[in-house]
């Protein structure tokens, strides 16, 4: 009887230490996840001057298909097929188009309203109207209607 009780006690200790290990691992995972989500990098920004008096080659553009774009912070965003964008001005990197009938933001450490910057048929980045800055993205060819 004493032997059985001792074995039971030893088993409890073994189970206790293994659940401690699981607890420590879980805590480490939660901490790592928390640190990752808390430390998103800021989007790259270059100050620019918007020329709103510039003439537009295309006053409005409409995307023919949905595309996924990646901002400089690594976050991705979808540009919806059928979405319409109106000419808003120009910056040295290209023509600036603002979403019509909706909003568009990019994300890094913070969220920023953003307009598209298009050079030719290629999206080259975003114009951040509040920050008055250009934020580059992976260049991508847009299929327009």
């Amino acid at each position: 009887m004493l032997v059985a009780a001792t074995e039971r006690a030893q088993e409890r200790v073994r189970m206790g230490s293994s659940s401690m290990i699981v607890c420590r691992r879980s805590a480490a995972l939660i901490l790592a996840f928390g640190l990752f989500t808390a430390c998103a990098s800021e989007v790259v920004r270059h100050p620019v001057t918007l020329r709103s008096d510039a003439s537009a080659e295309r006053p409005r553009i409409e995307l023919a298909q949905t595309v996924t774009v990646e901002s400089s912070s690594g976050f991705t965003r979808e540009l919806a097929g059928g979405s319409v964008w109106g000419f808003h001005g120009s910056i040295p990197q290209g023509s600036v188009y603002k979403r019509v009938g909706g909003i568009f933001t990019i994300e890094g450490a913070h969220f920023h309203e953003a307009f598209l910057v298009i050079s030719g048929n290629r999206l080259v980045g975003f114009y951040l109207p509040v920050e008055r800055a250009f934020s580059p993205s992976e260049p991508i060819t847009l299929i327009l209607k």
Partner: protein, 142 residues
């Protein structure tokens, strides 16, 4: 027994911090239009996740309200550049522009931080926002 107590505590924590007020859809038709020369910004938080965390919401450095779970409120401001900051564990900013007569919707999302939940402001399109705020409690601001 211990589990029951924990569940009860969790429930109280979740429900205790919810916004109170009439359901937004019942008062939506009586809300005054955007005043001339002004812009309107709605703030809302749906769900009870992280309900204990209710930071102040600052718009261009002025406190305009709190991130109350299941609550919605609005403020009218002169048009221009806007910066929304929620002051929980880590400041998360949202920047956007708004013109006269326009309305914007800022959703106060909840994310997991290092130690506590974080409130993250994000701009939302009008159709999505309208469907999400219909059932929320309308909180009047000062």
């Amino acid at each position: 027994m211990r589990k029951v107590w924990l569940a009860a505590l969790l429930l109280v924590a979740m429900l205790g911090g919810c916004a109170s007020g009439p359901k937004f859809e019942t008062v939506a038709s009586s809300i005054t239009p955007v005043p001339s020369g002004q812009a309107r910004i709605y703030f809302y938080r749906s769900g009870t996740l992280g309900a204990a965390i209710q930071p102040e919401i600052r718009l261009n450095d002025s406190v305009v309200g709190k991130a109350e779970p299941n609550g919605v409120f609005f403020v009218d401001r002169p048009p221009g550049n806007m910066e929304v900051v929620t002051g929980s564990e880590v400041d998360r900013k949202l920047t956007f522009t708004i013109g006269a007569g326009e309305t914007r919707y800022v959703k106060l999302g909840v994310g997991l931080g290092v130690l506590v939940w974080r409130i993250i402001p994000e701009l939302v399109d009008e159709p999505k926002a309208k469907s999400e705020i219909a059932d929320l409690a309308f909180v009047t601001t000062k």
